[in-house]
């Protein structure tokens, strides 16, 4: 029997593996077994992103496979393309997420089930995130009220949502102004 790892040497070491409760056999040559001797206590997922990605490609979740692979749209900051991401399974920088959001969304959903972060928020982002989380909650409530035909309450909620959204837009405009001013100073 040939070694499963290198497929060159005779397999002399046979290990019965137990992965997630399923038994399987590993047959290795001496030198490949020695490499396995290096213990890895990683608790990282052993999950093949590559496989998931190609199965999503094949299922047509990204439209036409060839078109998707030929799409040369790059992350504006690190120049990674989505096809390159598919090959290495790693994003290049924090701007990759907004750049490929529409394509990452279904992938994240497959991996995690969830699609929105509900955990810890850094102090610096807390105010803004709290507002956005409140907004999401109000929108859910609004839908519920509409479904229950409680139109008066729904109208109140809608006004509150509008108020918050206007507030957000105003703040966004302000920070953009600040950004422009800072850029002006640097030049």
């Amino acid at each position: 029997m040939l070694c499963q790892e290198c497929r060159r040497h005779e397999a002399t070491i046979h290990i019965v593996k137990n992965v997630n409760g399923k038994q399987s056999e590993l047959n290795l040559c001496e030198s490949c077994a020695r490499k396995k001797d290096e213990l890895d206590f990683s608790f990282e997922p052993q999950f093949s992103l590559h496989k998931l990605f190609s199965s999503m490609l094949n299922q047509g979740l990204y439209g036409n496979r060839e078109e998707m692979l030929a799409d040369e749209k790059k992350c504006p900051s690190c120049s990674l393309t989505f096809a390159q991401f598919g090959q290495v399974g790693r994003l290049g920088c924090s701007d990759c997420v907004p750049a490929f959001e529409d394509k990452l969304k279904p992938l994240l959903k497959r991996i995690h089930g969830g699609s929105v972060h509900t955990g810890k928020v850094p102090e610096k982002a807390r105010e803004r995130v709290n507002i956005l989380r409140e907004l999401d909650q109000l929108k859910d409530e609004l839908q519920e009220k509409v479904q229950n035909e409680e139109f008066e309450k729904a109208a109140q909620l809608r006004d509150r949502i509008r108020e918050i959204e206007q507030d957000i837009n105003r703040k966004n405009a302000e920070t953009e102004d600040v950004d422009h001013n800072q850029e002006g100073e640097e030049h």
Binding site: K17, V19, G21, F43, L80, L108, H112, G113, H117
Partner: protein, 350 residues
Amino acid sequence: MKQLEFNLSRWMVGSGPENDIVISSRVRAARNLQNHPFPCLASGDETEQVLNKIKSATEGKAGFSDFQYLLMDQFSEIERQALVEKHLISLFLARDAKHGALLLRPDEDVSLMINEEDHLRIQAILPGLQLEEAWSEAGKLDDILESELEYAFDEKYGYLTACPTNIGTGLRASVMMHLPALVMTSQINRYLGALSQVGLMVRGLYGEGTEIIGNLAQVSNQVTLGQSEEEIVTNLSSVVCQVIEQEQNARQALLDKKRDELSDKAWRALGLLKHARIMGFQEAIQHISDLRLGHDLGLIKEVDQRLLNELLVLVRPGCLQLMARKKLSNREKNLERPVRVREALDRHFA
């Protein structure tokens, strides 16, 4: 250059809740810096910049005052392997990182990996079942760092990470369990199989060749997006508690039926650990497991948890080579192992 010594981390020496079944609890949180490419795409200059930024964010900060700053480049391959075996760094940091570094508190409970797959991995490891406490320890360091650094954080997707499997909380929590009775009664596959159905990952002591050896299994969360840190940690804890209960029931059943056999097994294991002259890793880890079960069931009072944990780590190939201060062939390791085991037993029984 100072050489790394083999020493015991607090998770080996100390004790914690459910320590007879849960050996240790670990968490790590992945973080990245805004406006810096992630390590896999970064040039050597860029990883160096990140290293310096994080270093200066921790320097002089109260929470980091006694931390040791250890560059991967300063270590030999053997030293790095030993750090992996003590759960202080990942195989990736040991082998592939550019400007990889470890910030380590002297008790080795908490540490930071720099320039791993993400810029920053904040970790905590504690004895017994203490996931909440481990997350709280790691969270405190995170609080200090977030005020000093600009994290890559998205309002919708949370902490941004190189791998999509970590996006959200960036939190991976895991528990190392000793489950000899479930293995002996052939129930283990049923339980571990069920865990993978509820979004948890299970693996044996080995990482890549994941056979369950020495009756040790590691359970960790798979999902990081859509659950809060508290939910992740509480869910995992509650599932682990159920496994603990099953293991305890199985142990009691074994004790009722096979008390003498279990006692014999534990004493034989101690005999072999004391007197054998050639011993492979798997064999050693099995004897340590038998001895641990005998100790947990009160059948053998001559050993204690600390000794068992020490043995569990020192029989590992990297730690053996660290103590021998040289690279060893497989045969040499099998000769060295009983020597080091005997030394530890002699110290204990002295």
